[in-house]
Amino acid sequence: MTTTVDPPRTSRRVHDGAPVALLLIGVAVALFALIPLLHVVQYAATVDPDTAREQLFRPRIGMLLRNTLGLMVACVATSVVVSVACAWLVVRTDLPLAGLWHVLLTAPLAVPAFVNGFGWVSLTHSVEGFGGAVMIVTLSYFPFVYLPVCAALRGLDPSHEEIAASVGLTRAATFLRVVMPQLRPAILGGSLLVALHMFSEFGALKTLRFPTFTTAIYDQFNTTFNGPAAHLSSALLVLLCLVVLLVELRLRGRRRYARTSSGSPRTADRAGLGRLRWPALAVPAAVTCLALGVPIYSLVHWMQVGSSTGNGLDQLVPTAVTTVSYAAAGALLSVVLALPVGLLVVRHPSLAGTLVERSTYTANALPGIVVALALITVTIEYATGLYQTAIVLVAAYLIMFMSRAVVSVRASLEQAPPVLESVARSLGVSGLATTWRVTVPIVMPGIGAGAALVFIAISTELTATLLLAPLETKTLATEFWSQSSALAYGAAAPYALLMIVISMPAVYLLSRTTQGQRPGRSVLP
């Protein structure tokens, strides 16, 4: 039954407007996050047309465009196929050990793509080129599709499928006509993440000798110091990201796939696989072997037989300490920056607040190489003293990963609606005590999870770190990179394993928290 209810209580907060100080801080955070994008736009607007034509209309640019787009399309397609198959098996069938497979299918996120690429290439050179690149990028990033599709499958209203069965549809037809359309937002959202990560991917593709815009920009900048070429390619790459974002928005459309009835949803029955129950294990087992088994085997293998094994082991601990310090500082600061943004959006909804929030997301769509290049140029131009200092590196980390903290902070603030504070005040508790006893305990776990996500991202970041780190600074990622580039496989392996170990807890957390989520709302980066 429907009951009429007074207008939502929170609406009065809209009239109040946001406190000016909070709004100003939010705008400052947004401008900070927009530095790379503003730089690219400014560069593209002021570049000499002749230089641009000369640099852009070259066969090499055409080749890079073909490579980048072809790889993107192939990776998205394979990721979707792998993810939907695995998610359906894990969530909607009586596959043995479904819970374990769910964790294992999320785990590839803990293996940085450049480690995965190294793991394969160091065993066989046959993975170099397009096919290998498709496989390795897919294996590294398919969980971005798999997780939201799982959440969407769990959130589906089983009555839709029951209705389909009652009007005579077969199981296969039901899946295609009822289930798939409802998975669309999750698939599109995940595909967007795969595409954006593929655009930013540097390490893996460099290892696999498959040139894309990102690897080309790195080479142009690092080896030839060809400023205009790097900057123009970088602008082109930003344009590609923008097109992908718009395509996703367009395809997603305005349709909503919400449950219309009230009451708690039932969970759908799992389909019996019958005689295929055990053979079906081959699917998740194969994916897990390729995505986790091979790189981990390869790392362990090189640690045992590598001629350079043991070299530079004394550097492992100091490097780990440096990495953890950067990651911790970045995680803490990103939460500090995310809090005012979250408060603005959740507690004082307004257009300005929404724009501030969206600004912090844009940098997340920009490849690390673009962010790094922009920060280098901006510091050289406006703050030479900061060039190649830790401050610029941390700033790059914040711009790249702050959105993860914003998403978590926002979600956790929504868990603490103002009505709880009203109740606390009616119970005679002061404002400060209310914050301490009600708001903080409720939002802390979410904020902690956000900080953990940033921490992981920073501790495995390669591209921006290579370009921006102060001369003597070594992180796990850069040290692994220089050792493996020098073919010192045995020396490189421990760094990679340490990165995987550091990432594991957060990835496990991710496999838990995405359960029961509504499609289209992802906590994923």
């Binding site: 039954m1 009951t3 009429t4 209810v5 007074d6 207008p7 209580r9 009065r12 009239h15 868990q415 609606p417 009505v419 709880l420 009203s422 109740v423 606390a424 005040r425 009616s426 119970l427 005679g428 508790v429 002061s430 006893r437 009600v438 305990p441 409720i442």
Partner: protein, 342 residues
Amino acid sequence: MSVLDVRGLTRSFGPVRALDGVDLTIADGEVLAVLGPSGCGKTTLLRTIAGFMPGDTGEVILDDRPVLVDGRSKVATRHRNVGYVPQEGALFPHLDVAANITFGLDRPERRRADIGELLELLDLDPSLARRSPHELSGGQQQRVAVARALARKPSLLLLDEPFSSLDASLREATGRAVVRAVRATGAAALLVTHDQNEALSLADVVAVMSAGRVVQVGAPLEVYGRPATPFVASFVGSGSVLPATITDGVADSVIGRFPVSGQAAGDVDLFVRPEQVRLDEAGEVEATVAGFDFYGHDACLHLSVGDHHEVLCRVRGDRVPGEGQRVRISVDGAATVFERAT
């Protein structure tokens, strides 16, 4: 003695007058229901009394203490000693039932608090004390929210549509349990609701609100039996509005001629409750059964009388005549007279 006095309270949101001069008094230990459709300002009234928002003008006096003077808040919510139960209960999700209930108590009080007694007062099993809010049903959550509000022994409990999110069957039982608990503690209560059954069955006094004003205050029987305005008449229960002409204290209408009290004369509207209309073989008025709504224990007939005037008539569930049947009716008890709306 009164627990609450609201005098001339106004509050506008932009062009909307949410409160348009509200006067209201609640006596010690009294349960008063503020009844009105959505948007009538009843929640704004409650939030102003609680101290969550200021007014524009007017006064609020709690326990003889002016807490809002000339529209401005003089006493913060936490010093007003009111219990507050919002619509969704709003239990603190990170605390168990016991910690929720003792939330507003000082540390030493918390240790001494008899949580079991409070839970029993609300018909809850004392073993629920260690449960988390998400492990409770909707009705249980709402009862715990009331126990939490009562733990500090407030003189006034503010209930903001606390049962509207519950299933119909649960709503009644929860409402009764809550009011029983409130009475047991001796507190007064202000219950905001849009559900007339809830207001009539739970409250000692019903205040009907419309467009920011209190249009009638009275005992449930009075508000139902002698509605002050056509709005109150139709919002609190159902009935039929029929044109009539009064001459020398006698009303002449399609449902017959009968004496009415009061000064009214000329063309008026008569308001008749369905249970006042009876199927009566000796009745003077003839009607046709146009249809009926069946409720099991009783049914409401839609009768067509005279020149297609609709008259509602409540009959026992096992005495429902067939559609199209001709029946005779009589009217029992006094009809309410309203001046003809122009």
